[in-house]
Amino acid sequence: MPKCTINGQEVVVKDGATIIEAIHHNNQKIAHYCWHPGLSVAGVCRLCMVEIEGNPRLQIACNTVVSEGMKINNTSEKVKDAAKWGLDFHLINHPLDCPICDQAGECGLQDQYMEFGKYDPEMAERKVKKKKVVDLGPTVVLDTERCILCSRCVRFTDEVSKTNELGIFNRGDRSEIGTFDGKELDNKYSLNTVDICPVGALTSKDFRFRQRVWYLKDAQSICTGCSTGCNVKVYFNKEGLFRVKPVFNEKVNGYWMCDEGRDIYKFVNKNARLLKGKKKKPTGFEEFFPGALAKDISSLVTADPGKVAFVVTGQFTNEEYDQVFSLWTKKWGSKNIFHWLNSPEKQNEFDGLLLRGDRNPNTQGLLKRLKDFGISTQWKDLITKINTHEIDTVVVAGPENPIWFPDFKEKLASLAKAKSLIWMQSSNHPEFENVPAGTYLIPLKSFVEKEGTFTNYSGLDQKFSKVTTIVSEALTLTEACTLLAGENLMIRPDPNVLIAAHPTADRVTLEHRKKNEFVFRRGAL
């Protein structure tokens, strides 16, 4: 455990730690492009120069191991000068097309230039032109001119995804990123290359040109794409959610997330959602504020709770399960709770990196609570009981993303055989058009609109907070079950009205929620 001084401050570092790691640990800033904590060291950008006492020349911090008593300085004039010139060389052939570049606002070149820029470039030569808008594959677009050849993306496909699509071809100022013989950059983790590209050379097809990044806010959350539960940041504004990026968590996802997980924002946005409570009439749907349906629905459930079945997916929070199960088992003395597990045969699949076959964020939390509440029901019993009219009302807490529920249509059809069906779900589904008359649809909140805890595949509890409101009339599962219980559901500042345990975020009026709802308008903020 060598001891060193960084800018006059004493720091003890791990054996074998490099200077850049020491500086990061000490929460100090250092300019760098090619170094990434999740990748091997390349030492090619030369921006991380530091002064080491007794050493006449500057050294790169990312590839120099700290030794006992080292005195390191990265704030001296000499260091700043090195960064300034390093940056200027990076910009020799850079097109400087920030106004049309999607990275503008979160670009490493812009950021460093604000700090170390030379502001009077001496480059009089013509720039080398290279290919722009190269279609690299299904997810990523490449601009070879903007690339600063840090090789992060190459090391990612080499070391992390192990798919080896990318390489640096040619030599000198003709060097450029490319793929062998026009092959596609196509792997399940390809969009991480966009995250780690410090400049606008690699951009995401899904996100590019949809928003300027300075019009987005971000907040931390948990990916609901599978039972791994990668830690993520969602980026949003009043128009909706726009993208999802990974957040480092050593225990869960490291620095990365999968491409499919990045799509979770799509089923949270308003255009994919159930916006209103609805009742199917022979002539079509009638819309209500869910609270207005309270009497009708609760009479279906409370008349004879023994004949009601509750179907639940692994998509809700532990808090919701706890409250809803206790309502069912304690208040109504019913154990008719059935677990709808999508693709059971894929449950234990794992791609070796992050993505798991269980496409639910909280199967573990659900299983544990089913056990705690002494519920051990079989799906096939539910079907039998429906057919024999032992069950005549089915209440479903459906999936947030029906795409990952290939059996959705089939399940809906078999549950619709019950006398009455109450379907609670956050997203809309084309199959809802075919439900029998009398069916109720109740809009639920998505994971960004509530707080709670998910238990991931390994049993790790991960708390997440509310990010924003998208559908103002949507309810949490707890709120929806309050409706079922026949209690008055009103959204007002009195927390006792809701039985939700975590209503902090919702102690506001419906008016307030409506005002803060997303508006889907282009260009408006």
Partner: protein
């Protein structure tokens, strides 16, 4: 589909054994393959080498595209490389190369219509004392004049 001959395969396998890191064998392997593929490296060749050597195609392409000695497009039966670096340039190498191109009615780096010649201008070939010089496939010809060079080419079958 390009395939190394048995002999070539043995050579590549031997190179693979020779270095600490497999990647170091890429240059010799490309050299062997280029010889067997009429003097140039096609995507086919890289694909085949990648399978033989168990190294990603992109990695081989990185090396291949870095060096000018690996040809990226087909070359004539005789690849004529005229050195145009200092000593040779001072002794009229560029004029010599232009003369050859003119006589063969072909531009530098392109192949004659009959597929017999490609004329390239290259950097120093290490024979500066006998400038100007050219290399035709594996052979050096030194102390040239435009005429003598052309005569040499005419003499090739």
């Amino acid at each position: 589909m390009f395939q190394l001959s048995n002999e070539g395969l043995t050579k590549v396998k031997k190179e693979l054994q020779r270095y600490e890191s497999k990647d170091s064998a890429i240059i010799p392997a490309l050299y062997v393959a280029q010889k067997e593929n009429k003097g140039w490296i096609s995507p086919d060749v890289i694909h085949h080498l990648s399978q033989v050597m168990d190294i990603a195609e992109s990695k081989i392409t990185e090396v291949f595209s870095f060096y000018t000695m690996f040809n990226k497009k087909p070359v004539g039966k005789y690849h004529v490389q005229v050195c145009c670096t200092l000593s040779c340039a001072l002794n009229g190498a560029r004029e010599l190369a232009d003369h050859l191109c003119h006589e063969l009615k072909v531009r530098a780096e392109e192949m004659t219509e009959d597929g017999r010649f490609t004329i390239s201008k290259v950097e120093c070939l290490g024979s500066c004392g006998t400038a100007p010089m050219m290399q035709v496939n594996d052979r050096y010809y030194e102390n040239l004049t435009p005429e003598s060079a052309m005569n040499i080419l005419r003499g090739l079958k």
